[in-house]
Symmetry: C2
Subunit: 236 residues, 2 copies
Amino acid sequence: MPEPVRILLFDVFGTVVDWRGSIARQAANAFGGTADDWFAFADAWRARYQPSMQEIRSGRRGFVQLDTLHRENLDAILADFGLAHLDEAQRRQANLFWHKLDGWDDSAAGLEALKSHGLVCAHSNGNIRLIADMARHAGLRWDAIIGAEVAGAYKPMPEAYRNACSIMGVEPHQAMMVAAHNDDLAAARACGLKTALVVRPTEHGPTQTKDLTAEQDWDYTAATFLELAKLMAVSR
Amino acid sequence: MPEPVRILLFDVFGTVVDWRGSIARQAANAFGGTADDWFAFADAWRARYQPSMQEIRSGRRGFVQLDTLHRENLDAILADFGLAHLDEAQRRQANLFWHKLDGWDDSAAGLEALKSHGLVCAHSNGNIRLIADMARHAGLRWDAIIGAEVAGAYKPMPEAYRNACSIMGVEPHQAMMVAAHNDDLAAARACGLKTALVVRPTEHGPTQTKDLTAEQDWDYTAATFLELAKLMAVSR
């Protein structure tokens, strides 16, 4: 019988929290209008997320925290959304929107349910402070936070997964990556980790076309964390 | 008015958990006898803690996790306690005693009470997995764990405190070190952090002579975490 999973590593943005809705709601609160008016702002901000990390993954730029990348990306899009007048304090405040993202309906209870299957760890490209603030806000009780500055690399670099396993004291096959993104799981599987897809069909809004189904035969595929906990209990 | 403390950094061994009693109790459970028979074993194991880290602080040895040091130190003392016969699996199991230390009576409730004063972070020389396992065992709900592999340095090196503040996104004066050890607090103060002594008069047993009183005018001195929370509430 194979050794059981001991460590559950969770992608956070999109998988555990609704970044798009949360950013839009906070922007409406801060700048006026309704959340509907700010989805494009959230999308534009997030669109710069992967390219800005790619500078670091490629080695063209030294490691900086995601807070720093978020701020640079914010500064780059403000003018497009009529916010070029924001002063330093307002920009700092807006950058903290990412620290106060709301969980999906099942997230807080789902993480609790999954604790019987192992240590529940945030394995995000977000920095520790960002994930810790978010945990307080959204009621997420992590056993450990393995931010990018802990793993020393941004996902999907293999080092990000390997270092997370090493830090948590397990072989890759004793850890499982839980994510709403097929590419994150593919990278984890390539490093020997087990994989669980939790589908989040509205992460990118009502017209989302990506990550609606499993693109590989992941160890588990579920609609919610609670369903994943049940599937794991059955197969145990 | 000075900026308030936002981040509370806790020493763990001795400050939050009773390593001596917990190691002795687990040894008695595993090897026979009563806890009284194993205090000398706990003391001998712990006596090698600082010297083994000193090899790393001095640069004579590259960074390794505390789990590794604990295991080397265990191997070194087993013969003195009639345990040279332990096989690899038994030694591995014994090394995990450090992952299952019990909190002091006020620890779990005290950390909860202190959460209204900031993010409650383990700032231990212990590695993340060790602190995460201990948190599950002892019901300690950390907002974040800043193990030695996160800070990249063992306390009391200044980098350990400075890097912890940087990771948590605060200036040193916005962070407070909470410890039962005057030397830990002195090192933290030298880096600009605020300081709180919580006296643990039986960490080293009933005849303890060290760290029974404040050796400097720390920002707070308290007998328990709950008392510290009350003192902080009054001065807020």
